[in-house]
């Protein structure tokens, strides 16, 4: 049992370390310490705006979100990993060749994720806060307690992701019902600014009221959800050869308005026929948006000048750019390197595909503006969404080329990414507070983004691609 776990952790380390070297990899944790140290210094500033409880609420939901996205990647990433590292090279997927049950492997995978992310993210994050609180005597609660409750929040997020993906595998209808229900709850909450509901998160309650009850209910959620996931685990390895008529041809004819229709058609078929499918979009996109929704609600309660729809559209733009990560995860340049294909051709095809899939967040934006009845702000929000979505995509492309998920684990690249995006974001939010009409200026970002994409294509054409 422990042997398997040990090997999984080693393997994860090996994969990342082989990209950046051990030093850079360790640096990542160090940077987390610095970042959270810096952020903790702002706690007193935030405390002027809102009570400590709300800040803590945001922090805990951040960790839930983190767990959700980690879990989603862990599961839907399976096909990705398979492709990237070759069949059976990953222990977690080699149950057919190892004398271990799939349940056991899955359980180990779950534990590995917790251990791994605990040391890589959570511990450094809390250490940063701890140092800040000791050096500048900022007191926002015990660091040790925070370590426990954020870890619990992370685990809740992780087990929710596993649980939902288990539901997805068994019944898509049930998952849609759950999503519909959650959306209804969010809408009700935002129309009435009822935050009490979100404070029910037991790991959060535990932070302010460290009682055995709260600890037990946190653990209960985690154990029940992951036990159900393990029990109903279904790993689909269809034995029969499924046959498909040539849909590539008709699809590429339908998409012929893009120069890269054949690449986009291939991506669509990939996404459709592989595990998850739309599930991937839901997990990587709708869930983060739901949590960000909660954040905005909290903030706008204390900064009433914030317009919900505008801030939502800005974050929607940023989260949308993760669609690019999914599109590129599914491809490896190696599978084209023997064909007359340039790296830039592939990147441009992903940009076209990205624009196409951006219809989904666009629809979401329309639905949300209908739901929140903020019609007056719709066009400003639309401009923000379009320009931020394209801008973060361009930064992503310039910094990470075809490998955003891997490259952004490099601390320096991540730092550059954050510094390119955050100032713009703050400026837009600030402008929206003055008068949302000014946001029309955000459209300037669109030509800028195209320029950056062009520069990125040039940059990556001249670089050797990462091979695995």
């Amino acid at each position: 049992m422990f042997e398997l776990l040990k090997n999984m952790i080693k393997e994860e380390w090996r994969i990342y370390a082989s990209f950046f070297g051990n030093v850079n990899f360790a640096l990542f944790s160090f940077m987390m310490v610095l970042l959270s140290f810096g952020a903790s210094l702002f706690i007193p500033v935030f405390q002027i705006l809102m009570p400590l409880e709300q800040i803590a609420l945001i922090v805990h939901y951040m960790f839930v979100l983190f767990g959700l996205s980690t879990g989603a990647f862990g599961l839907f990433g399976r096909e990705v990993m398979n492709r990237r590292f070759g069949q059976a090279s990953l222990l977690a997927y080699s149950s057919r060749s190892l004398p271990v049950s799939e349940r056991k492997i899955f359980l180990n995978f779950f534990i590995k994720d917790i251990i791994y992310y605990f040391f890589l993210w959570i511990l450094p994050f809390i250490t940063g806060y701890f140092l800040a609180s000791k050096i500048f005597s900022i007191n926002a609660g015990s660091a040790l307690l925070l370590l426990l409750t954020t870890t619990l929040s992370f685990m809740i997020g992780l087990s929710v992701a596993f649980f939902l993906s288990t539901i997805y595998v068994h019944s898509k209808k049930l998952l849609y019902v759950i999503i519909f229900f959650s959306a209804a709850v969010l809408l009700t909450a935002s129309n009435h600014t009822v935050l009490g509901f979100f404070e029910l998160l037991p790991s959060f309650s535990f932070f302010f009221h460290p009682s055995v009850d709260n600890l037990i209910s946190s653990l209960f959620i985690i154990i029940i959800l992951s036990a159900i996931s393990v029990f109903f685990l279904k790993i689909d390895y269809p034995q029969n050869k499924r046959k498909f008529k040539n849909s590539f041809k008709s699809l590429s004819i339908r998409l012929k308005s893009s120069k890269y229709n054949y690449f986009i058609s291939k991506d669509i078929l990939d996404l459709n026929r592989s595990e998850g499918g739309i599930g991937k979009i839901i997990f990587s996109f709708l869930f983060p948006m739901a949590i960000i929704w909660v954040f905005i609600l909290i903030f706008s309660k204390f900064i009433p000048e914030l317009n919900f729809l505008i801030v939502f559209s800005i974050f929607l733009g940023i989260i949308s750019s993760t669609i690019y990560n999914w599109l590129t995860e599914y491809d490896l340049f190696n599978s084209y390197s023997f064909l007359p294909v340039r790296v830039s051709t592939l990147i441009k095809s992903k940009v076209d595909g990205y624009m196409l899939i951006n219809i989904v967040p666009l629809i979401l934006l329309i639905l949300v503006s209908l739901g929140t009845k903020q019609y007056a702000y719709f066009f400003s929000a639309l401009f923000c969404f379009l320009s931020i979505s394209l801008y973060s995509l361009s930064i992503n492309i310039y910094l990470a080329g075809l490998h955003p998920n891997i490259m952004l684990c490099n601390p320096w690249t991540l730092l550059k990414y954050l510094f390119s995006i955050f100032p713009i974001l703050l400026i837009l939010i600030f402008m929206s507070i003055i008068n949302h009409i000014y946001l029309i200026i955000s459209l300037v970002l669109i030509p800028v983004s195209f320029y950056i994409i062009k520069a990125g294509c040039k940059k990556w054409d001249n670089k050797k691609q990462i091979s695995f």
């Binding site: 498909f244 023997f338 050797k464």
Partner: protein, 240 residues
């Protein structure tokens, strides 16, 4: 005759390792050139260099009159390549993948081209199966078809015929022989000497990044020497 491949003083280093060490080589039109060598001797590296998939540390490569370093994509437009490891993408069917490649290569009459290969390599029954569910052999057939779908004059084949059953192997060998007869040129790499002996017109033996022998198969046959004995002798000498 015209040289389709001209390599001058080619070197490729991976860190300190010289995977290709100052190799000069030329291949004439209409040849079936076999690059032979044990595992790790630099065959795959050579093919990747010649097709612009890797940048050389030093040296010049000219393929079909095109400078590979400056115009790698153009070279890959001209030639066909069967890579050693890559397999078709998992979630396309065999037929869809060939359509995809034909689209990349901007070809017309795609259906006719595909049909030719379904029949030639006998995988029409499996054309609607996702590549991930296909056997290794069938996937290799698809890779073979993809390399020849645009009817190139020159093709590079890295380790051919492994995973194929004897019947298909025979068909492939016949196809290659016919291809060369019609003025096509093949550059193949293999560590299976029997293949080289059967189909190559000319061979180069590569060992630790150096070409240690170059010559025609006929020469060897005239000396009544088996390729295997010859090969082992050469490698032994080098190891001394």
């Amino acid at each position: 005759m015209e040289n389709l491949i001209e390599i001058k003083n080619l070197t490729k280093k991976y860190g300190d390792l010289k995977a290709v060490d100052n190799i000069s080589l030329s291949v004439e039109e209409g040849q079936l050139f076999g690059l032979l060598g044990p595992n790790g001797s630099g065959k795959t590296t050579m093919i990747k260099l010649m097709t612009g998939q890797l940048k050389p540390t030093e040296g010049n490569i000219n393929v079909m009159g095109t400078d590979v370093l400056a115009h790698s994509v153009e070279v890959r437009e001209l030639v066909g390549i069967i890579p050693e490891q890559e397999t078709p993408p998992s979630f396309l069917t065999a037929e869809e993948y060939l359509h995809f490649v034909a689209n990349i290569r901007k070809l017309d009459e795609i259906e006719a081209r595909c049909n030719k290969w379904f029949d030639l390599l006998d995988f029409r029954n499996e054309k609607e199966v996702l590549c991930k569910d296909l056997s290794r052999g069938t996937r290799q057939k698809i890779m073979f078809a993809q390399a020849f779908i645009h009817e190139p004059k020159l093709a590079f084949i890295d380790e051919p015929l492994i995973n194929l059953d004897p019947v298909i192997q025979k068909k492939v060998k016949d196809y290659l022989a016919e291809f060369v007869k019609n003025k096509g040129t093949i550059f193949l790499s293999t560590h299976v000497l029997q293949i080289a002996e059967e189909i190559c017109t000319k061979i180069g033996i590569i060992y630790k990044g150096n070409i240690i022998h170059e010559g025609s198969i006929k020469e060897l046959q005239e000396k009544n020497q088996h390729l295997e004995d010859f090969f082992l002798k050469l490698v032994k000498e080098k190891n001394k």
